[in-house]
Each structure stands twice: as C-alpha cells, then as structure tokens.
C-alpha cells in the first residue's frame, strides 16, 4: 500500500453515514409508475400519428421509436442523417448519443452530437466535437433561444463556429483553440442573434475566457474564474457570475472588458440570462438547511441592477416534488424559462426526460413549456 492509498482512505473516512435502502426502493417505484404513465401517453401519441397528426408533446418523428421505447429512446434506434448544408429548420434540442447497453451495435458512436428540429428531423453533426476518443474531452454545443443558430467546436478547424442553420452560413472564431484546452468544464454562451460568443473553461491547464464578435473577430478577455451566463445581442454586456458560500456576484462586462459588479446576498451559480432590457437577472433560490448542504428552496431570486434591489418569489404551479434546477432565456419582460426536475428529499428522481417550464417572475406562477424525451438535453437558450 502507498501513502496515496492511505491518504485516499482518510478522505473516504469523511464520507457520511447513509441509510438509502428504503429511499432507493421508493425512487424505483416512482420511476416504474412514471414509465407506465409515459408509455400510455406514448401509445396515445402513436395513435395520433397513425391517423396523420402529432401532438408535438414529444418532439419525435418516427412513431415506431416512440412506441418501442417511450422513455430514453436508444440512440442507435433513432433514424438520423448528416446535417444538410442548408435548409435546416429551427432546432428543438440537441443531445449526445449514448451506447451504454450490451446490445448496442458495434458501429454505435457514443458522445456524438445530434440535433433535432422542431419538425422532428434528427441530424448528426459530425463536424462538431462531441466526446473525444480518449473520453477526456467533451466538445460543447449551444443553441440560441429561437433555434436558428448553434455554436460548436469544429473538429476540422480546431476552433469555435457559429452556424446559421437555415442558410448554412458559418462564422469562424479568429484564432485556433487547442482541443486540450477544452479538458475541463466548458461554458459556451451565444447571443440570441448568433453574433457574439463567450467561452470560458474551468479546470483546464491553459486559460480560456473570452468573448468573440464572430463577424469581425474582435475579442474581449473575460475575468478568469467567472462563469459566463449570457451575451447581449450587441455584445454589450457579457454577464458573468462568481459565488461564495454566502453570496454571489454578477458582473456586466462591456466590450472594453470593464463593467459594474453587483453582489447578491445568497450563494448561487444557476442564473438566467440577463433580461432583454438589460436590468434584471434571476437565480435559483438556495437556502442552507441548518448545517447541511445548500438546497433549492423553491424560489427564484430576482435582482434588479438599476434599483440594486433583491427579492425572492416562490415558484407556484409546479407538480408535486418538482423543483427548478436551471434557468434560461426570457420569453417576455417578466417570464423566464426554467429547467425542472422531480426531486424528493433533495435528490433528483427523474433522469429519463428533460422538462422546461416558463415562470412569471412577478407572481412565481409556472406553466409547462415542453418535455424532451432524453435527460440532460441541450435546450435552446438554457444556461447549462
């Protein structure tokens, strides 16, 4: 045994005592009930498709996929084709392929990016780096709220690109980014008009934190260690956040690289995009339970950068056991998108689908926007 082994064991000694048996059984029963319910829904949808119409609830093209596997359809069973040069409709979502089961065919490629249009067409995006062959690096991909633009890391060109899906026109970042620089946690944010791109990597051996005007190549350095949240259409401001255990700080960075900072008296790193009028930002409300961990407390925290006011609003209208986990773009001046999950006892219970609600920040009222048939998909406009 080595001293590294012994030290790892001393760290493991800090692990909490747990009693998870009954909780796991409850979670499994809940999942089984949910699968049964979704299978029933899928059968209804399949029936609808058979007579010539779809409900659009599950953004899927082939009825047989939905019937065969209503939850977590297997990547290799879904019909897809390479992304055409042009004429691609707005995207509904993107996901990386997965080949975890023993019956996956030998040619199943894991971690490759796929996009799905609102019309249900599924396309492979081989030009975008997904999970690299060593399994260490995962190329990012992001989609604008309207689904018309996507940004990705190009395998061939070794840098970031923004693609207008309808015209097929691509804008390319002015300088190369070594693939190894993505060996960390990559945050890629794209302005709604597809012109400005912000990218920051945490944990990489080589620093990367910039915002790029993809039309003229002008590049703005971003502060190191701050997570980009959103970029305004004219590139001003770029919203970045940092956090401590008891507070979080929002900075609005101008193209000159400076800008004001606003301190919010609550931990958090899950923020919405900056509102279209440039003054409001929303975060997932977090509260520490005694000496325990910080948990989502069922609220949204709303910060007004003009008034410098901070308030919290309780989210209402979500199904039982559902909490908002992430936030995204704004649907109008008071409504923000929220990624929601089923959670019990602070633990996520559903990992079969992705659900997005719209939440009115003045009332906290939520309404269901869409359910996607995979967990952890890339949702247009979501701060992921």
């Amino acid at each position: 045994m080595t001293r590294l082994h012994d030290t790892l064991h001393r760290i493991a000694d800090e692990a909490p005592a747990v009693d998870l048996a009954d909780r796991a059984v409850r979670g499994s029963r809940r999942r089984r009930r949910r699968r049964t319910a979704l299978a029933a829904v899928a059968a209804v949808i399949a029936g609808g498709l058979a007579v010539g119409g779809g409900t659009g609830l599950l953004p899927f093209r082939p009825a047989h996929d939905t019937v065969a596997s209503p939850v977590n359809p297997r990547s290799w069973e879904i019909e897809s084709s390479p992304l055409p040069d042009s004429g691609v409709g707005p995207l509904a979502y993107a996901y990386p392929t997965s080949c975890p089961d023993r019956d996956a065919p030998p040619d199943c490629e894991s971690g490759a990016w796929r996009v799905v249009t609102r019309d249900g067409e599924t396309y492979d995006v081989p030009q975008a780096l997904g999970l690299d062959s060593g399994g260490e690096i995962r190329g990012p991909l992001t989609i604008t709220p309207d689904g018309r633009f996507m940004a990705y890391y190009s395998r061939r060109d070794g840098t970031f690109k923004v693609r207008d899906l309808e015209s097929g026109k691509e804008l390319t970042a002015p300088s190369k980014v070594e693939k190894e620089q993505l060996n960390g946690e990559v945050f890629l944010r794209l302005s709604d008009d597809g012109r400005h791109l912000a990218v920051t990597v945490f944990g990489s051996s080589k620093r990367l934190a910039v915002s790029i005007d993809m039309r003229n190549g002008r590049t703005t350095g971003l502060p190191s260690g701050w997570m980009p949240v959103s970029v305004a259409n004219d590139g001003d401001p770029i919203t970045v956040v940092d956090w401590t255990d008891t507070s979080s700080t929002v900075r609005l960075i101008s193209p000159r690289g400076d800008g004001p900072a606003y301190v919010i008296p609550e931990y958090g790193q899950r923020f919405s995009a900056l509102s279209p009028d440039g003054r409001t930002i929303v975060k997932i409300g977090m509260t520490r339970n005694g000496d325990g961990p910080l948990d989502e407390d069922g609220t949204l925290g709303v910060y007004d950068t003009v008034e410098k006011s901070w308030s919290k609003v309780e989210i209402r209208g979500l199904p039982d056991d559902t909490v908002a986990l992430r936030l995204g773009h704004w649907l109008d001046g008071t409504t923000v998108t929220a990624w929601t999950v089923v959670s019990a006892d602070g633990h996520r219970q559903d990992d079969d689908t992705t659900t997005v609600h719209a939440v009115d920040i003045t009332t906290g009222q939520a309404r269901l926007l869409r359910t996607y048939p995979f967990p952890d998909v890339v949702v247009p406009g979501m701060v992921q």
């Binding site: 045994m1 080595t2 001293r3 590294l4 082994h5 012994d6 030290t7 790892l8 064991h9 001393r10 760290i11 493991a12 000694d13 800090e14 692990a15 909490p16 005592a17 747990v18 009693d19 998870l20 048996a21 009954d22 909780r23 796991a24 059984v25 979670g27 499994s28 999942r31 089984r32 975890p100 060593g134 399994g135 260490e136 995962r138 060996n183 960390g184 946690e185 945490f202 944990g203 051996s205 401590t244 255990d245 790193q269 899950r270 325990g292 961990p293 910080l294 602070g346 633990h347 996520r348 219970q349 990992d351 952890d376 992921q384």
Partner: protein
Amino acid sequence: MDRYDGFREFVRARQQSLIRTAYLLTGDAHLAEDLLQSVLVKVAGQWPKLLRNGNPEAYTRKALINQHISWRRRIRRELPSADPPEYGRSHDDSTIDRIVLRQALLRLTPRQRAVIVLRFYEDRTERETAELLNCSLGTVKSQTHHALGRLRVLAPELAHLLTEADAQEVNR
C-alpha cells in the same frame, strides 16, 4: 414475492463501502449521497434481473463510476471554493496531505478522479479499471499518467505521495 426482495439487505451491507467511493468521486457529502441514491434507484429497478443473472455489487460499482462521469456539470455546481487550505499548527502532516489531496482531486476531470480512485483507493488492476471505465488498457495507462501529472502540477507539496504511486505504476 416483492420484486425488491434482497435489495434492502444488499444495500444495507454495501452502502457504507459504496458511499466512501462516491465521496471520493464527488468530494462532497451531499453529492455523494445524491450520486449513490440515484445509482441505487437504477439498481433497484434491475434487481430481479441482477439477482438471476448478475453480480449486483459489480453492476452497482460500474454504474456509480459511469454516473459520476456523466454528472460533470452537476458536480461542478457544488464545488467549494478552491482556496488553499489553512495550515494551522494543529494540523499534522497527514492532515495537510488529506486536505490538499481532497482539494486537488476536485480539480481533476471526472475520469481522472475515477481512475485515481479505482487504481489507488480500490487498488484495482489496470484491466479491472479498464472494464469499469469501458475503455482500453492503454487509455487507463495514459489517464493514470495524466491524472498523476495533473495532481503533481496542482499540488506540488504532494510529491512524496505521488512518487510512490508513480513507482507502483512502473512496477505493475
């Protein structure tokens, strides 16, 4: 017959061992519990099949590793600050090693953390590690090399721990 017959007993017998691995993988007690529970829910769903055909513990450990790797984003959300540890007079060398190593582990990629945990905590062979990570023997070798190298950069003060590990790598 309840489809979960035997599952509770299995969990009660193995959960403390599993949570230790989960804690090393995540570096956070809450996330470790979250990770393990999420995996156990899946194991519970497969339980009748696992009882008939499989090895529940091997399945669970493999699921734990894979779930951890696919969780990279959620893990980041709860990372504590990367401030250096405070060296107090009350800390002996082994305590400092523990604190520094824990913080350095948090800055590795999920796969690098997994390979360190499997090779040097669970003392798995390279072949077993490759099987658990669904990758080749060569990938395990290179990832171990890179992970140790990254730890050396992140925490030069741990050289005395890592040199031994390097030697072990060469000898295996």
